[in-house]
Amino acid sequence: MPTLSYVAPATVKDAVAALSGASGVAKVLSGGTDLLVQLRTGRIKPDLIIDTKKIPGLIGIKDEGGGAFTIGAATPCAELGEHVALGKAWPGVIEAANLIGSTQIQGRASLAGNLCNASPAADSVPAMIAAGVTCVIAGPAGERTVPVEAICTGPGKTSLAKGELLVAFKLPKRGPKSSDAYLRFIPRTEMDIAVVGCGIDVTLDAKGICTAAKVVLGAVAPTAVIVADAAKALIGNKLDDATLAKLDAAARAACKPIDDKRGTIEYRTKVAGVLARRTAAIAFERAGGR
């Protein structure tokens, strides 16, 4: 019978060494709200679990000034929600993170786990991509920084190489009149998986005309989708009816959803358009108020 080992290294270097030196299946542990479920149901059978939470900095939030923040990979989402300055600068990223699970799940769930579990419906992922968040990855060859959208390659699959782990997220500086928003649609009001999720980040000029935008949909394809046509529909325009209609159409056109008990293809596609409209309205209002 294979036996499981557990280590809690005190440095990133030791964690990388343990990960790259592992002979069998090694899994990184952050909050465990995905990993423990998979371990208990037998879906994964790791030989080694590497707990990152004893590494200084893996839990914590650093204000870098000008709206920029560094977030330790394993920081529980509840802690993100309690950080006032972070929530002010990045309301969309934080509302997405705080939608994950219940109070109990919030106490442990992290952004790194949400991203690296690579579920197409992961709530924080579209919001982080829209916001231009990057990940700092440590590995045998040292550190590299990649955008969040470079991580997931398919359901349950990531681009991380053997021996690599995520150590931090970097939120960029915030210019004036820019903000973000995230909405998801679920059949219940709490504790459910997104049928569609939508993250939007916008920058406006003094007249309320959009000068930069990023629109990202979750749960409508194997990975989160950056909808370039939806951003194009916003840029150069105010959020009037014509713009909203173009945004709606672009969001629908980008959907390649699955058909399941929680939503048919037709339904998910329709909801994606509606959700894009609503998310854009919130992002524009927040950006305009700055």
């Binding site: 557990y6 423990l36 109070t103």
Partner: protein
């Protein structure tokens, strides 16, 4: 199989235990320390019957490894009553008949305590959202919400 030696503070007492790496904190509490108040309803983070407080944060003990408790402060349902005197939450659950079979009750009580520890005066919506990760199959939620509201009032004095 090598067991891990874990040192943690459980309900205010320094505690040491030996556990297997794959053992959850819930199993360690129940099977090693005989603290059987925390329940396993689902084992997948959905029901909240296993709720405990770790360093002031509410978590599901079924989704945490026992070894992860190393160096942390754990509060369980067994720490709620002091010297046999029920905590106001426990007293109000009885008065409002906020339990039937009682299986979900320890989880609700621990979760409600975590809420009142940070917000002594939550409104009904706050209570309902905070407790959304605790499921009850028999009582329904109205009596539970009323008991928590009433206990909060009593604790505020």
């Amino acid at each position: 199989m090598s067991k891990h030696h874990v040192t943690a503070t459980i309900n205010g007492e320094a505690t040491e235990f030996l556990c297997e790496p794959q053992q959850t904190l819930l199993d360690a509490l129940r099977d090693i320390m005989n603290l059987t108040g925390s329940k396993e309803g689902c084992g997948s983070g959905d029901c909240g019957a296993c709720s405990v407080i770790v360093d002031g944060r509410l978590v599901c003990s079924c989704l945490m490894l026992g070894v992860e408790a190393e160096g942390h402060k754990i509060e369980t349902i067994e720490g709620l009553a002091v010297n046999g005197k029920l905590h106001p939450l426990q007293q109000k659950f009885l008065e409002h008949a906020a339990l039937q079979c009682g299986f979900c009750t320890p989880g609700f009580l621990v979760a409600a305590k975590a809420l009142l520890d940070r917000n002594p005066n939550p409104d009904e919506t706050e209570i309902r959202y905070w407790l959304a990760g605790n499921l009850c199959r028999c009582t329904g939620y109205d009596k539970i919400v009323r008991a928590v509201t009433d206990a909060a009032a009593e604790l505020r004095g």
